[in-house]
Symmetry: C2
Amino acid sequence: MFFLKDLPTRRMIESYSGHYDTGPETIRDGLTLLRRASLLIRRLDAYFARHGFSQLRFLFLIVIDREEDRDSLTVGEITERLDVSGPVVARTLRTLLDDGLVTKVTDKNDSRIRHIALTPEGRERLTTILPGYFRIIANEMEGEDP
Amino acid sequence: MFFLKDLPTRRMIESYSGHYDTGPETIRDGLTLLRRASLLIRRLDAYFARHGFSQLRFLFLIVIDREEDRDSLTVGEITERLDVSGPVVARTLRTLLDDGLVTKVTDKNDSRIRHIALTPEGRERLTTILPGYFRIIANEMEGEDP
DNA sequence: GCATGATACATACCATGATAATAAAAATGC
DNA sequence: GCATTTTTATTATCATGGTATGTATCATGC
């Protein structure tokens, strides 16, 4: 997250970066990107929270659901697709299991491996939440406040 | 933060959002924005961590430093300028005080109010860290990986 | 001029990101 | 074919975001 409510003015950036070779506009564009994305993430997080969910729980379900030809992923595969650490995946998995949104099955040949699949409830939850998720993103990209 | 390493394909987004009025390109642009900003934030956080700092500590110092005509801000004014909750500002203030980067002075007329100012060390720390900060942003905006 | 409410800041605790260390199973090598 | 290394997943602990609550001080109204 980027926490600055008011971005620095061009002049202010110049006074900071003046001695370096990077143009103030480039810096300002970067800060604008950070700020825009942070606000969007805030909105998305608030939306998920209203549904007793979180961005990570949502994406966890998505990566399983979007996999073609298969209806499950291993914990390691989920970790590969999500940009979070293994322990966070393990903990998120636990909460999703507790809520009955996914199932965990140990592999027959290699008992280190766990196959994670969506339950019908998990899939339903996903389809419930998706439209609002897309709407928030679309609103933001169209410059409107939802 | 946005955690998806590989953004969904256009087709995949369509399959999810097909029934709504938002175009898949708009959604994809939004996801791209989120992903780009998240990667940049990761780089910045790693940079700050290498300097025993954090994005928030840095911005905390910045908002004091950039204030014109004054060399201090109250805790409330800092909270207004940063998009974080009061308690987080209070805790960050404590760590900055412990590190000797800011001073805290109770107001003469209203003893609820604390005036926070940079110490010379705080200002020096800021000037040490700033160039690398701008460089990371500039690199990212120019599409280069640092 | 004292009770009541508002304001400024801090504390207590929860949620969720990280890294380091661990446990269990499989693969490897002599 | 057993010791060692690698792989998979988890547990333990820390850092830092949040909300709810608490404390001290100031402002207000009767």
